[in-house]
Amino acid sequence: MVLKVFFPSCCSSAESGILIGRWISEQNSAVILAVVHFPFIPVQVKQYLSEVQQVTKIKVSVLGSWSNSKQEKEESLSKFLEDLGTIFSHKPWIQISKERDSKFWSCSTLQKQSNSPKEEEIILVYYDQRKVMLSYLHPPVDIATSTDCKADDASKLAAMFNTVANSKILFMTDRYDDGPIKLTHWQSDGVEASIIVELMKQASVPACMLLTFLLSLTSVICKSRMLKFWPLSFLWSKLSTCEQLGHRLQHLQVISSNKKAQNQIQLMRKANIFVSLLIDVALGILLMSWLYRKNRIGHLADTLIPVADHIAKELQDLLQWLMGAPAGLKMNRALDQVLGRFFLYHIHLWISYIHLMSPFIEMILWYVGLSACLGLTVALCILSDIIALLTFHIYCFYVYGARLYCLKIYGLSSLWRLFRGKKWNVLRQRVDSCSYDLDQLFIGTLLFTILLFLLPTTALYYLVFTLLRLLVVVVQGLIHLLVDLIDSLPLYSIILRLCRPYRLAAGVKFRVLEQKHGKPLRLLMQINPLSYGSVVQTYRLPTYSCYPKDSWTSLCKKLFFGELIYPWKHKGEKQD
C-alpha cells in the first residue's frame, strides 16, 4: 500500500533530528507534528511523549528521522539515524533527508520484517500546520460514532485534522524555553498571543456576572404576579414587541452563562448571538439619533392623527359606495343599509377614541421611541404593533364579515342538504338520507331561498374586508420578515468566512508540486473554505416564528368557507 506522510511546511528548514507525530495504521499514513533536535536523551523524549499522550489522548510517538544536511551526505550520519530506529522501535521507520537546498527530498522506510521486497510508493503531503490546527471541518464527524475504528477509516482527513487540532499542548513550547527537549513546529519561533484577547478574557468574567445578576432581576420582575392578570397577559401575548424582547433576553442569558462552550458549534453560536446583538443595538441607536434630531418624532406624532382620520374617511367612502350600487351590482337594500350603518357607527366610535387620545400621542410616541435603543428589531416590532393598533377597526370588520359569511355558508349547505332530502350524520361523519315532514321541508326551503338571495350582499362585504385585512397582514408580514432576518443571520460566521476563510473548511484541495523521477510524489494540501450559502445554512440562529404551514389550496379553501385565517403563528401559541 502507498505510504502517505503529512509533513508540516514550517519544518522544511529545521535542523536534523527525529520526527514525532501520529501513525494511523488503518490508512497507512503518518501525520508529523514536530521535529526533535539533537542532542536529546531518548528516555526523556519517551517520558515527554507519554505526558503529551496523557493530556491529548492522541498516540504521539517517534516516527522516524529527519536529516537536513548542508554538506554532502555523510555515511556515519545515515548509520546513526538507522541506529535510532532500533532505540525508538516503530514500524515502519521513516527516513526523510534533504540535501543542501534541493526541493526534492528523498524519503525511505525501514521495515523490520517486510514480506514484500519491493519498495512501496511514498506520497509526501505538505500542510500548513497553523491553518489546519485552527480550522474546523464541515460536516463534522460525530464524536460518539468515532469510538469504533470504522470512523477513522471513513474519513482520513477528519482523523488528520483531529490529530493536529488536539495536539495544541505540543505547540506551547518554543525555542526560548529551557527544557531538555528542543522542538520545531509552527510556533517554535515564539508563542503567539494577543493582548486584546487576554484583556477581553479577563474583563469578560465580571461582565458576565453583572449581566447574569441584571438578567435574574429582570426575569423576577417579569414573572411577578402583577403582570399575570388576565387583560395584561392577553395583551403581552398579542404584542410582537414582547415576543421579541423575550427572545433577546434569552439570547442574553445564553451569552452571559458561565459555562465554557463545549464544542465549536456552541462557540460559534455564542459569538453569532453576541455580534447580532451588538449590530442590532448599534443600528437601533443610529435610528434613534436620526429620529430625535430635528424633532422628527414630533413631526411623526403630528402626522399620525391626520393619517388615522384619512384612513377612517376612506373607509366611510367605501361603505357609502357599498351601500349604493357597487360596481353595478344590485344589493338587497335592507340588509345593505343595516350592515352599512353598523360599520359606519363602528368607525365613528373608533375616530372618537383616537381624538380622545390625540393630546397624549406625542408624549407617548416620544417615550416609546426611546426604546429603539434596545435594538432595531424592537423598533420594527413597535412599528408593526402601531400598524396593528391603527388598523384595529379593519380587523374587527373582517371578523364580523367573516363570521356572518361563515354562518351563512354553513346554513346554506345544511339547508341545501334538506332541499335534496339528506342530512349530516354527526355520529358517522357522513351524509345520510332522511325523510322530513312537510312543514319541515316548507320552512327549510323558505329559509334556504332567503339565505341564497341575501348571499351576494354578505359575500361582497366579506370580500372587501378580507382584501383590506390581507393588505394589512402583508405589510406586517414584511416587517416581521425583516426582523427575522436580523435575528437569524449569523454575522460572525460570515465575517469569519470573509477574513479567515481557513477557519471554516468544507474540505481540502491538493496541488501537485514539481516532480522529479525517483523521488516521492510531492503534494501541497490547502484548505477549501465553505461556501457562503453553507455558512448561513449551518450557523443560522433559530427564531421564534414559524412561517405558515398552510398551502395555497388550504388557504383558498378557508377563505371560501369564511374561516378566520391567522397567517403568522408564533411557536408556543396554541393552535386555534
Binding site: 500500500m1 502507498v2 502517505k4 495504521s25 488503518e26 497507512n28 514480506n115 514484500s116 510508493e121 506520497i123 503531503v125 475504528c149 477509516d153 471513513a154 474519513s155 482520513k156 482527513l157 474540505g507 481540502v508 484541495k509 491538493f510 501537485v512 516532480q515 510524489l521 503534494l523 477549501n528
Partner: protein, 190 residues
C-alpha cells in the same frame, strides 16, 4: 504530457491533456473552447443598438449609461460565474479524486472526494433534450449499505466531450482505481 483534440457533444472542439505525475497520480484536463470575440461583439452591439433605439424614442440619456453599465456587469458576471474554461480531474491513488473547474476570470472551484467514499468511476448514458449523450461520473459509496450508491457526481458537465474522449479518461482512472483493489493488506484491519 500529451494533448489530443476531440469533439464535444455540441460539435465544438475540446482538448484533452493527460499528465502522469507518478505511478499512482494522474491529472486529466479537458479544455473547452475559449470566449469568441465574434459572439462578444455581436451581443454588445445588439444591446447597444437596442439602447440607442430606446434613447431615440425616449430622449433620456440614462438609457445609454444604463446600457453600458449592464453590458459591463453582464460580462463580469458571465466570466466569473458562467464560462468554464477548463475542467480537470486529479486522481491520486489511495488519497482520492479531485475535481476542479476553472472559470474564465481565473476562479477555481474544487471538490475533493476521498478514496474510501469512491465506489467506482463509470460512463453513463443520459437523455438530454432530443439526444442521448454519454457522461462520466463518480459513484459514491453508501456508508450503511456496501452494495448501494449514495450519490452520483457527474464530471465534465460544461465541456461535455464525446465518447472517445470519455473512454480515454475512463481507462486512465480505472488503471489507478484497480491498484487499490490489488494493494496488499498491510494491516489486518479493513
Amino acid at each position: 504530457m500529451e494533448e489530443r483534440r476531440y469533439r464535444a457533444v455540441s460539435g465544438a472542439s475540446v482538448a484533452l491533456r493527460c499528465r502522469q505525475h507518478s505511478a499512482s497520480c494522474r491529472e486529466l484536463a479537458v479544455r473547452g473552447p475559449r470566449l469568441q470575440l465574434r459572439s462578444l461583439t455581436a451581443v454588445t452591439s445588439a444591446v447597444w443598438l437596442a439602447a440607442y433605439g430606446l434613447f431615440v424614442l425616449s430622449e433620456n440619456c440614462m438609457v445609454l449609461s444604463a446600457a453600458i453599465f449592464i453590458t459591463l456587469i453582464g460580462l463580469i458576471v458571465y466570466l466569473h460565474f458562467v464560462k468554464i474554461d477548463q475542467e480537470s480531474l486529479l486522481v491520486i491513488g489511495s488519497l482520492g479524486i479531485q475535481v476542479t473547474s476553472s472559470y474564465a476570470s481565473g476562479k477555481e472551484s474544487t471538490t475533493f472526494i476521498e478514496m474510501s467514499q469512491v465506489k467506482d468511476v463509470v460512463i453513463n448514458e443520459a437523455i438530454h433534450m432530443q439526444k442521448v449523450i454519454y457522461y462520466l461520473c463518480i459513484l459514491l459509496q453508501d456508508p450503511q449499505d456496501p452494495q448501494g450508491v449514495s450519490e452520483v457526481v457527474p464530471l465534465f458537465q460544461s465541456s461535455k466531450p464525446r465518447l472517445d474522449c470519455l473512454m480515454e479518461v475512463y481507462k486512465s482512472c480505472q488503471e489507478i482505481l484497480e491498484q487499490r483493489k490489488t494493494a496488499p493488506q498491510s494491516s489486518g484491519i479493513k
